[in-house]
Symmetry: D2
Subunit: 388 residues, 4 copies
Amino acid sequence: MTVHALEAARRLAPRFAARAAEHDRDGSFPVEDFRDLREAGLFGLMVPPALGGMGATFAEYAAVATELARGNGATALVFNMHASVTGALGAVTEELAEALGVPDEALAARDRLLKAAAQGSWYAVAMSERGAGARLSQLSTVYEATDDGWHLKGSKTFCSGAGHADGYLVAARSSADQSVVSQFLVTAGDGLTVEPTWDALGMRATSSHDLHLDVAVPADRLLGGVEGLALVVAQLMPHWLVASYAAVYVGVARAAIDAAAEHLNARNLAGLPAVRARLGRADAATAAAELVMAEAARRVDDAPGDAETNRWVWRAKLLAGTTAAEVAASMLEAAGTSATRRGHPLERLYRDARCGSLHPATSDVCADWLGIAALGGDPDRDGSAPRW
Amino acid sequence: MTVHALEAARRLAPRFAARAAEHDRDGSFPVEDFRDLREAGLFGLMVPPALGGMGATFAEYAAVATELARGNGATALVFNMHASVTGALGAVTEELAEALGVPDEALAARDRLLKAAAQGSWYAVAMSERGAGARLSQLSTVYEATDDGWHLKGSKTFCSGAGHADGYLVAARSSADQSVVSQFLVTAGDGLTVEPTWDALGMRATSSHDLHLDVAVPADRLLGGVEGLALVVAQLMPHWLVASYAAVYVGVARAAIDAAAEHLNARNLAGLPAVRARLGRADAATAAAELVMAEAARRVDDAPGDAETNRWVWRAKLLAGTTAAEVAASMLEAAGTSATRRGHPLERLYRDARCGSLHPATSDVCADWLGIAALGGDPDRDGSAPRW
Amino acid sequence: MTVHALEAARRLAPRFAARAAEHDRDGSFPVEDFRDLREAGLFGLMVPPALGGMGATFAEYAAVATELARGNGATALVFNMHASVTGALGAVTEELAEALGVPDEALAARDRLLKAAAQGSWYAVAMSERGAGARLSQLSTVYEATDDGWHLKGSKTFCSGAGHADGYLVAARSSADQSVVSQFLVTAGDGLTVEPTWDALGMRATSSHDLHLDVAVPADRLLGGVEGLALVVAQLMPHWLVASYAAVYVGVARAAIDAAAEHLNARNLAGLPAVRARLGRADAATAAAELVMAEAARRVDDAPGDAETNRWVWRAKLLAGTTAAEVAASMLEAAGTSATRRGHPLERLYRDARCGSLHPATSDVCADWLGIAALGGDPDRDGSAPRW
Amino acid sequence: MTVHALEAARRLAPRFAARAAEHDRDGSFPVEDFRDLREAGLFGLMVPPALGGMGATFAEYAAVATELARGNGATALVFNMHASVTGALGAVTEELAEALGVPDEALAARDRLLKAAAQGSWYAVAMSERGAGARLSQLSTVYEATDDGWHLKGSKTFCSGAGHADGYLVAARSSADQSVVSQFLVTAGDGLTVEPTWDALGMRATSSHDLHLDVAVPADRLLGGVEGLALVVAQLMPHWLVASYAAVYVGVARAAIDAAAEHLNARNLAGLPAVRARLGRADAATAAAELVMAEAARRVDDAPGDAETNRWVWRAKLLAGTTAAEVAASMLEAAGTSATRRGHPLERLYRDARCGSLHPATSDVCADWLGIAALGGDPDRDGSAPRW
């Protein structure tokens, strides 16, 4: 699949780039970008071929996400959420399903969701909450069983794609047992209210609004068919909660270098030694972050959730976030005041790039975990805060 | 005067801060801030007491500018332009006037401009041009003598306060002799057209629009009364073209630390070691930049334009610009995603702070000049580009 | 005094520099440097004029120490220990003595020590111990009262000047009451054994060997004449335990720039843009560190031990240590491989400079304390470890 | 071969590490390390199997060099010179030989040199000269034809392994035609004089002494059998002149992290947040440098000398050099003063690590070349200095 999907991403990136300034300015959702993604079949990127998708590996996803982000980081960031949902659903093998006690009908329901994705539906993630952040163990959204399914009630924040997705992956806590956290796939429609709170420094086109839920869902929308799987899945697939961001910010860093080179060449400033030094160091740092991302992704495919895989995931997250921010800041400085005008790609990229280190796990948290591991410890056990 | 002006600045800063988010969002000029400045008498800050002003030193200016910038960097940046004009005019001593061949009527005209400032007028600077940047030697705006004065024609860019100032300091080239560059004080009114081009990453409230001139001015508006003084004055008072920015960015850096501390304390996050390390290093760097600014300012007062004074001016510009950008980026990272929402002070400060290194002389240029000087060379002679 | 002492320091620095390579290579004590210091009367720098000394302020000390360090950082570091002892003794005013309950005979004893210094004696500090580091609260060296004085027993490490000083300030714990820590001035001679353990990366000429004590001292050698004053004095005069190092490393950073400039000019490499950028940024950073050191010193003189004074002390320590290390590393890179030959000043300065951040309080600790203070906390209360 | 050679390297590294402190202290050559390398057959690493060697790829070399450097960077650096000679000789294919006009007897002579290496001989490189540095175009060592071969006369510097190698690759200029630079393989023995000048900050065990030549060599020792090939080969195989260093410094960086972790765990300091942050960031940076090195090496094997390959080579050189220096400095700061005692691995690694950026092409030069390439230029054409 790689070739096809990667070519599609490369073909779409310039279109995304051409629309990026407008969506950034208005904070509007890149609806056309998502139409393009649908038409290119990319909503099925992580869906197994048997269900009509491309069956991409995580490494293939990462390469696609980086290319999309060279066009518009915000689009790639929302797409990353859909890829996370479909990727995690698709990664539940029969063995794992059996080990977790997932009933057959839940697997069938899962297949229906994935088929729909391959046919053009896309899903957002409604996990974070004000106060709790992205920590599953701190959620206040609750659910309870009803006669014919489940009722969910609560409020989510930072829900990228809110109001545009066809469905939402919602994490909630059982009202019967506070320690049980489950995930549901809630179809867009009645019972969901988008509160347009997203108006941020960067990644402005993600529509990461608040989402209020007071909604009934059918029984089969409990993912896995068994309550309490949310934390288990987080432990098994941390890459989808951490590393998938990293691929986006590698693309943002690369886009900043490209934009600076174009700007400087257009003004005949390529001969300035200080400018060359800035571009050279940015190029090396970005190339390094890209390789670390690729290595992390390769290992995710080989041994998801392993301790060594997780170290690479944290390295990728740390380096992509810090590199994007530093590179964009340096490229803007190389390009000079004329590149700070709104509508200039570097003006947007400087803001977008700052967000990478802030997504969970933050750069400071990744550095702490990596340090613990380098000292022979275990971040799960020795960290100062619960990882999820 | 210090006490009075500095107290006024400290009193006004919180008011400016309260209005900053709105002006940043809309890119609107902080009209009320300037009314406050007028009422506090601060337009007369650099005007000699004999002409009704406060007669501040450059060091006193720097302290005032830093305080104003803790409220709103954009307001302080525009105020800095007025201070530059009045400060440079006020610094022309009788000895200097005689040495430059400034006629008595020009000194009288100068006094009228300064008196007007003390009474509440303020001036903007219209120097930069698209293509030429801030280099006096590259300007394309021209002037020619008329029967009763001068006619100026051309276009300026990055004219902070355009459309709001009472007068503009305009640099132009003689149409009779390309090598002659002079400066005029042009009163707001007919013949000046503001093109609202300013819509930038940071310092959005400065209204640094383009200004088109096709305007006749009276004979006495040629500053100094003698043509060709612009480059001479630039050589004599480089601090007004370089260091005055630095004081603003010291205030921006300090504001970022203050905002981060308030944000983190409100969320009970002050105990996180990574957060404390970020604030501690930011505090030390900002304190250092502030001292370097104060030292540069003190030397400007003692020996303006001296080689050693200029080194301090470049150090102040370099450190204030790089420190503000690095501190704001780190404080935003310490505060986390919730501080990236528009309207949050750190969101604005992160953008404002990036602009300091880009004002001329840029950080890279200052580093080059300082390096030449450290190696025993002379930036005027050994630099790779003309300084003005 | 400033003028005299500062001139003397400037006169001596080149002599120290000429001897520095040899002492660095052999790890030998700069005996001639100390003879020069004695002859210049600098052992009396901190001694009140009434007792025959120069009565220097802390700020004057700092300026002298920086100049000496431009010659040889190791010599300045040992001198700093003597200045700490005499400075702290001299700073005990009659009011403080009364408040602490210091008897008259102790003041007389103190005066004898200071007079001896003014006449050419110098003192080292024997505080740190293996395991305890520099924490007074963790010492294992003990003392007990004898019929005619005190008996001290224990082992010290990092005792700069061991084997060369005329006396040693020794901190010890009472064998009768573990919570009581006192300080003694022990004359060189029997009962003291120097174990030559000092063979380190940098500051090799300090002879910071281990010192084993099993020694009887007269009654009047208990400083202050009252047991248990050590921690009180540490609280009152933290600058002598922290900031005095900083002045040395400012001098080391400046020496590195000077050496790089000389090296590059001799090879006609001053025109390389990358070299100029390195020197320019190093110059600005070093100038900033020097100002912060001067400001901290000024405040120490005005309000020793105050919370705001202490913040400046930590800023000075943090910036001097990090700046020296970064500047020396960059200057060596600017100068290139030929400057890595042993005997080249930059080769030594690169090693010496790394030590500044490691002296207590380390750079990381200073950053933590400054962060706590910036967040409105109190390092004494909120720090993760006891400050002394 | 990878497995065998890599396993051998891993087996030898701890032995090298155990001897490293002594050779560093004395500046003595690690004779036993080289005996171990010979016995493990590693002198034949780059020799084609047909000639008795292991036939390693460049990527395999890089992995081996990194492992050796985790034991002792100095040993790895000298080994790198031998690998460069044998690797470059072995890389001359029949097609290339024909294109360059290499006669059959020269290929036979080449094969004899490689066979000797496989049987236990090793070669050093004598290229750099005082004044010229490593620039082939600036050499002053000359050669002239004699009746039965060549006579070489001149002086080399930084000749790693001088006095210990079995042969030396010597670059020299034709006395008949200054523009012709050729390379000879000179056997150790009469006519070569080692002047023990190497006494440096780091990599002290390399014996990179001066080598004076006044020596006759047989006709077949002109490499390639044709004069004037030196610059051609430099253009074709820049990786052997640049990237091979990088692999060594990746190993040095990793060794510093390992040493810091061991030191901190032994002192129960692994729980300090500042320490963990330092180790975490060092780990990520080193992992990135290692991947960039591996990618560069892979591309060298696929398309040696290609423009894109060269970019990766410069990235590897830049990142390995800067990462090693920064990581070692940070690890020493994490470990604290006790790690600065001579004999402690971190004390040596801090000095060794600083050398990586200084080897040609220096970090600043690599950054310049990468910047030119990122801006669409060609470093050969647009650089400010000749590349060789």
